[in-house]
């Protein structure tokens, strides 16, 4: 293939035969590459944040909410009908309201949400929220072995509170600490069985539980405060005395303890909080004595979505009915749609509209992106603002390229004259400089995209390095918690069309801008009179 001579010469002027790269080319290409890299990384991270918020919102609110416009007591027949819709995977009813809760002298007015524990994690991943909110005690000679609270432990006498409520009131769910003998190692016991607390329900009382194996290997479980002693055969299953007692089990292949081995657990009961509802306050105004409802704290949750109420409480539907004094009420349903529908906002909106038609005029079905449109508009605005800030950076780079190429034209005036004398057309002579801009833009864009891929690939390592060097190790923990970089899903261009379009847009932008930067020098070169150029000193 014959390469057009302007392209050949443009390439050679940037990458001369005697050297791998000229100093000017290196600076120009690095400038473009860094610009493209920064633009892509910033926008990719913004999109990563959007993706994260989208996921968090869906987790906190489901794909859509069906909101009751009129109070109705026959809502119980609706979930099966809703589930008949082909696009809907799960549905869970809810009741919501504002409550006043108190523990000792501390008070909070959280947003309260009533759910059906039997619906589990079908729509809202409560298990994940409880996992995120889990607090661990720290002890010098002990280890917090509290099992993760589960949704099925929620009942009418217990609630889950958000971590903000827990810290405001100073309340916590039940906890278990395993104490170690002095000099005992905590190393993995390998094949030998180890003891763990399988379940702590909200009604467990505080106590010291000792589990020991006698010389024959028989195991006895004793509670030292009450003095109760229970035999336990671990081969027949976990040690479970029912609600109100901790459940122990031996894990591992050997379901036994060593003869003479003794393991000590301290169990701490859950905090109790007093709940006042607006209904109770109304009754109190009417001189009706209504004692506050006492409930146990079954777990602490944390919803990653910042738009979710910071001070929140989750109880059962019946708990909410009691506090509101409205039996059989339902404020609406959280809905989860099939992935194929949920991924496409248009399809999801259509599915919501179809459901609305089915439910008739008593219900409004609002998809998540409509309910949170304000937030995404804000994020989009922020993204546009970023682009607006970064585009001038690209233009500054273009000016630098234009000035450098212009200088080259002035430096090479006689060479330009020679090219004309040797038969080069003026347009082709000008193209040499325009193509240099194009090559700088293209090579810079390719390098910039490569750098961006590397940055995205090693973002955690790089962010840790950068933040730790600026803010130190403690600062890093704070920044990581606040921005949550490590959990950001920033897709590579081959993984998502959105990411691909970001890469292509900025690469194209840099190529166009660099090529335009070469236009003025090219015009200047093509306008030179060859005879005058050859005469110039």
């Amino acid at each position: 293939m014959r390469i057009p001579w302007p392209l050949y010469l443009a390439w050679k002027q940037l990458f001369p035969s005697q050297r791998k790269i000229s100093f000017f080319s290196m600076l120009a290409i690095i400038g473009v590459a860094l610009g493209v890299n920064v633009m892509i990384v910033v926008i990719a991270f913004m999109q990563g944040f959007q993706q994260k918020f989208r996921k968090d919102i869906i987790n906190a609110q489901g794909h859509a909410r069906a909101i009751s416009l009129r109070s109705s007591s026959d809502w119980r027949q609706l979930p099966p009908r809703i589930l008949e819709q082909p696009a809907i995977e799960a549905v869970t009813p809810f009741l919501q309201g504002q409550l006043l809760i108190q523990s000792g002298a501390y008070k909070s007015i959280p947003f309260a949400l009533g759910l059906r524990p039997e619906d589990g994690d079908g729509v809202l991943p409560l298990g994940d929220f409880l996992d995120r909110g889990m607090l661990r005690l720290q002890a010098h000679d002990g280890e917090d072995v509290t099992p993760l609270p589960t949704v099925d432990t929620l009942d009418d006498g217990s609630v889950f509170v958000s971590s903000q409520v827990a810290s405001r009131l100073g309340v916590r769910p039940p906890a278990a600490v395993r104490f170690y003998e002095e000099n005992a190692t905590r190393s993995d016991r390998g094949e030998r069985g180890d003891l763990r607390v399988l379940r702590l329900d909200p009604y467990v009382e505080s106590g010291e539980w000792e589990i020991q194996a006698d010389e024959n290997g028989s195991i006895l479980v004793s509670e030292s405060i009450s003095g109760d002693v229970f035999p336990w055969d671990p081969t027949r299953g976990p040690f479970d005395l029912g609600f109100g007692y901790p459940v122990f089990e031996i894990t591992g292949k050997e379901v036994s303890l060593d003869p003479g081995e003794r393991i000590l657990f301290h169990v701490f009961r859950a905090s109790t909080i007093e709940v006042f509802s607006p209904n109770m306050i109304e009754k109190a105004k009417a001189d009706e004595m209504v004692p506050p409802k006492e409930v146990r704290v079954g777990g602490i949750f944390e919803v990653p979505w910042q738009g979710f109420q910071m001070e929140a409480l989750i109880g059962t539907m019946r708990f909410m009915e009691d506090t509101r004094g409205e039996e059989g009420a339902c404020d609406g349903f959280y809905l989860r749609f099939e992935d194929s529908v949920a991924r496409n906002e248009g399809r999801l909106e259509d599915a919501c509209r179809e459901l609305e038609v089915m439910l008739e005029e008593d219900w409004a079905v609002v998809p998540w992106f409509v309910e949170n449109a304000w937030f995404f508009e804000l994020l989009k605005f922020e993204e546009y603002l970023m682009v607006l800030i970064m585009v001038p950076i690209g233009l500054v780079a273009a000016f630098a390229i234009a000035i450098a190429l212009m200088t080259t034209v002035l430096r090479k005036i006689r060479e330009i004259g020679l090219l004309s004398a040797m038969g080069g057309r003026r347009f082709s002579v000008g193209m040499v400089f325009c193509l240099q801009g194009f090559i700088i833009g293209t090579v810079g864009a390719i390098l910039g995209c490569g750098l961006a891929i590397l940055f995205i690939r090693y973002r955690d390592v790089l962010m840790t390095f950068i933040v730790e060097n600026i803010a130190g190790a403690d600062g890093h923990a704070g920044v990581a918690q606040f921005y949550d970089f490590n959990s950001l899903e920033v897709p590579f261009p081959w993984e998502s069309n959105e990411s691909l379009s970001v890469f292509l847009s900025f690469a194209l932008f840099s190529i166009l801008v660099s090529t335009f930067a070469g236009l003025l020098p090219a015009w200047r070169a093509s306008r030179l009179n060859p005879a005058e150029a050859l005469r110039s000193e």
Partner: protein, 254 residues
């Protein structure tokens, strides 16, 4: 080839050119006529600034004349018209140029510089690479084809420039003071190469020079004075019969 059988390759008729300088003007060419035959050489001498380079530029159609016509191998061109793109394409094959300052492209090595002329004339094939290598060998710089121009001496650079001017097999070679930057010995060597190559290829050569010895070596010797081309040297001066500038034949050389 006898003088009569040689075809006319370059012709300028009634060429006039005036430069305007402020309120005044300088007439550098006034109805000048010039004709060059194939495989022949022509020298043009003249005082500095008399218009020698302008004449070459007009003949190469790098600038327009005020009036006159130019013939490139029978193709007549209005010299007063603005040079066109099609003429540039034609020039690449028809005319080779050599300048005093060599004008080699610093980013290209020696071979690439020579092949640049071939690229401008349509592209580089194995034939043109072979031809470029052969010309470089003939010019005595065959072993330096990978070197950068900056690493060559002035004489070597001018040899490369001559090879570049001849690589497309042009019918006319315009040499504007090709020995101006060189010492006498190197200049002599370059002149030998230039004259040899032109006679071998049948290329017509117009040599602009200040050096009377080199000028005398041309078949036709002209002097440009006040815009007119006249015969150079006194009547009866014998042309050097194929002098060798290097060695004992060159009177100025010791």
């Amino acid at each position: 080839m006898s003088e009569e059988k040689r075809k006319l390759v370059l012709e300028g008729k009634s060429l006039s050119k005036t430069f305007r300088l402020g309120d005044g003007s300088i007439e550098v060419l006034s109805k000048a006529d010039i004709a060059l035959k194939e495989a022949s050489s022509m020298s043009i001498r003249g005082d500095s600034g008399c218009g020698k380079t302008t004449l070459l530029n007009l003949l190469a159609r790098l600038e327009d004349a005020d009036e006159g016509t130019i013939g490139w191998g029978g193709h007549e061109i209005d010299a007063s018209a603005t040079p066109s793109s099609s003429e540039a394409v034609m020039r690449a094959r028809f005319i080779g140029v050599v300048y005093q300052a060599y004008y080699l492209i610093p980013e290209l090595n020696v071979l690439e510089n020579v092949l640049m002329a071939a690229r401008l004339a349509g592209g580089v094939g194995s034939e043109s690479v072979e031809r470029a290598r052969s010309l470089l060998s003939k010019m005595g710089v065959g072993d330096k084809e990978k070197q950068a121009p900056a690493k060559l001496s002035g004489g070597e650079r001018q040899r490369v420039a001559i090879a570049r001017a001849l690589v497309n097999g042009p019918r006319v070679l315009l040499a504007d003071e090709p020995t101006g930057n060189l010492d006498e010995r190197t200049g002599g060597q370059v002149m030998d190469l230039l004259l040899d190559a032109c006679s071998e290829q049948g290329t017509g050569l117009i040599l602009v020079t200040h050096n009377p010895i080199f000028a005398q070596a041309a078949d036709v010797r002209l002097f440009l004075r006040q815009g007119k081309l006249t015969k150079d040297f006194d009547e009866g001066t014998t042309k050097w019969s194929r002098p060798r500038f290097c060695g004992y034949h060159y009177p100025g050389y010791r």
